[in-house]
Amino acid sequence: MVYRRIAVFGGVYSNYRALAATIEDARRHQAEALFCLGDLGGFGPCPDRVYPLLREAGVQVMRGNYDVSLADGLTDCGCGYTDPRDNYYAALSYEYTFRHTSEENKHWLRTLPDVLRVQVGSYRLHMCHGSPRQVNEFLWESTTPDGFLSKLCGDYEADVLLCTHTGIKWHRRLPDDRHAVNVGVIGRPENDGETHVWYTLLTAAPDLQVAFIPVYYDYEALARDMRQEQLPEAFVETIRSGWWTTCLEVLPGKERACGRW
């Protein structure tokens, strides 16, 4: 399938309010198709609420590490934390999400692909969750070198690599008109003190244009949902302040320096 313009997002993290706003905004921007790079659950409230939204909007969804864990009934989210504080929050979030995700939705996760390949204009896109070679590999902007990305483009026969997983967006132009894009996440703000979230529009004009689109949604309503579900106040604080409070150990120095904690 060849598209002219698509919308891509990752990391829904049960934020059904941001998901609804993203779908609406992508349509307003005349995206011909919507893609989700995985991690539907975790962090936010009422995980089953995202599934009907994704299905009704015809979003093409692939699995992230969280989805693999839920589908296969694994004991944790697969993020690989070592710090007991991070593991405390990760376990709490995973247990809540596992308990509140229906069997029907877990079954649906099992049917999803681990990779999506499409074409935008003349560009061959390879979509993955973490990296093309490992579902939970973190591709941060400050630890992902050009040489590595060029090699992946060659190895996976792609002009554009798309990933998510870290929670912070970036775009890198590579030699030979190749690109790597971390599309960011719509489940929580990206640790910059702002409360909105981000998705990505890719347009063949005919040269590739990559645009990060902010999504403003009712985050106070989400915070109320989270409190009602008795999710940790540290998570609520992130939604309301735009600063990450947990699972910070995996952040490289540059990204960590930009945050508050």
């Binding site: 007991p84 376990a91 709490l92 070198p145 590595f148 120095g253 320096a257």
Partner: protein, 295 residues
């Protein structure tokens, strides 16, 4: 005689340099290669050698570069070497921190600010108690490491504190409610916060029974062929990293200078081949899931 298991080589995620050989300004009592101010067993790596291997590593899509020693800040060309490395990839230095003066910290901050990739300073400590720490690392080591931590933080470089399990056997990583109890991580986090390090980052490393802690041969444990069945071999760092040191390219930062671990005299490409899990250190990595990279 039992066959020695092999670890396949998957990809070059990390390239290490044992930049200053076995020379260190400290002489820690648990050092795995017995580094000291007088140990010249393994020599420095020349800047030209570093640059040549970095060029080669880039063609293999290397993701991270690490500099260790000895004490890397004993190398007079450390700053230009780091500048070149940061052109290729995110770069980390494993250091005791005692040689990081305000001038050095300024130079590091300038490098970090102008680089697209992260520059990480990983500073080693053994305990939050000065007497206990310095009993291992030498008098004044804790105070000087703390000075480095502060200097780096003041310049916008949040340092990583690396702690061995020398005093703390297998610290818990199971979920623990924040602020509860006196866990290993909490203890170091509290210590760093009390000392003005606002974004505490910890890296915990097991102690390897080698170098100054070499066990008797009868007590040593090894990886056996049977242990490889069903084992996720990618958890072993030697499937995705190599180290350049005096004498060539080795399979593992712990085994520099060991003939059995040397995979090439002068070629990274040649060294990207399976390696032998022959050493007791291999057993420690197997059992602990040890990763020597930052994350």
């Amino acid at each position: 005689m039992q066959t020695i298991p092999q670890a396949p080589f998957h990809n070059l995620h990390a390239l290490w340099f044992q930049l200053t050989g076995t020379l260190c300004n400290l002489a820690c009592s648990h050092c795995f290669i017995s580094c000291s101010p007088t140990n010249h067993a393994l020599k420095f790596v020349a800047p030209e050698t570093v640059y040549r291997y970095l060029d080669e590593a880039e063609t293999h899509g290397v993701r991270e570069v690490y500099f260790t020693g000895g004490e890397p800040f004993l190398h007079k060309q450390i700053i230009p070497i780091l500048a070149r490395s940061l052109q290729a990839a995110a770069t980390s230095v494993l250091t005791n921190g005692t040689l990081i003066t305000p001038t050095v910290a300024d130079e590091l901050a300038a490098l970090a600010t102008t680089s697209r990739y992260s520059l990480e300073m990983r500073i080693s400590l053994d305990d939050v108690d000065e007497a206990r720490n310095d009993a291992v690392r030498g008098k004044g080591a804790l105070r000087r490491a703390l000075r480095a931590l502060r200097l780096l933080q003041e310049r916008g470089l949040p340092p990583i504190v690396a702690v061995t399990e020398y005093f703390y056997e297998a610290p818990e990583t199971t979920p623990q409610e924040p602020g509860s109890g006196s866990g290993f991580y909490q203890k170091f986090r509290d210590f760093l916060l009390e000392n003005g390090i606002e974004k505490p980052r910890l890296k915990v490393i097991p102690v390897f029974a080698m170098g100054k802690l070499h066990p008797s041969e009868t007590g040593a444990a090894y990886v056996t062929p049977g242990m490889m069945h069903g084992f996720d071999v990618t958890t072993l760092q030697c499937t995705k990293s190599r180290i350049v040191a005096d004498g060539g390219v080795y399979a593992c930062p712990l085994l520099v200078g060991e003939p059995e671990a040397r995979l090439s005299e002068n070629s990274l490409s040649e060294a990207m081949q399976p390696c032998s899990l022959y050493h007791t250190a291999c057993h420690t990595c197997y059992v602990t899931g040890m990763t020597c990279s930052n994350y």
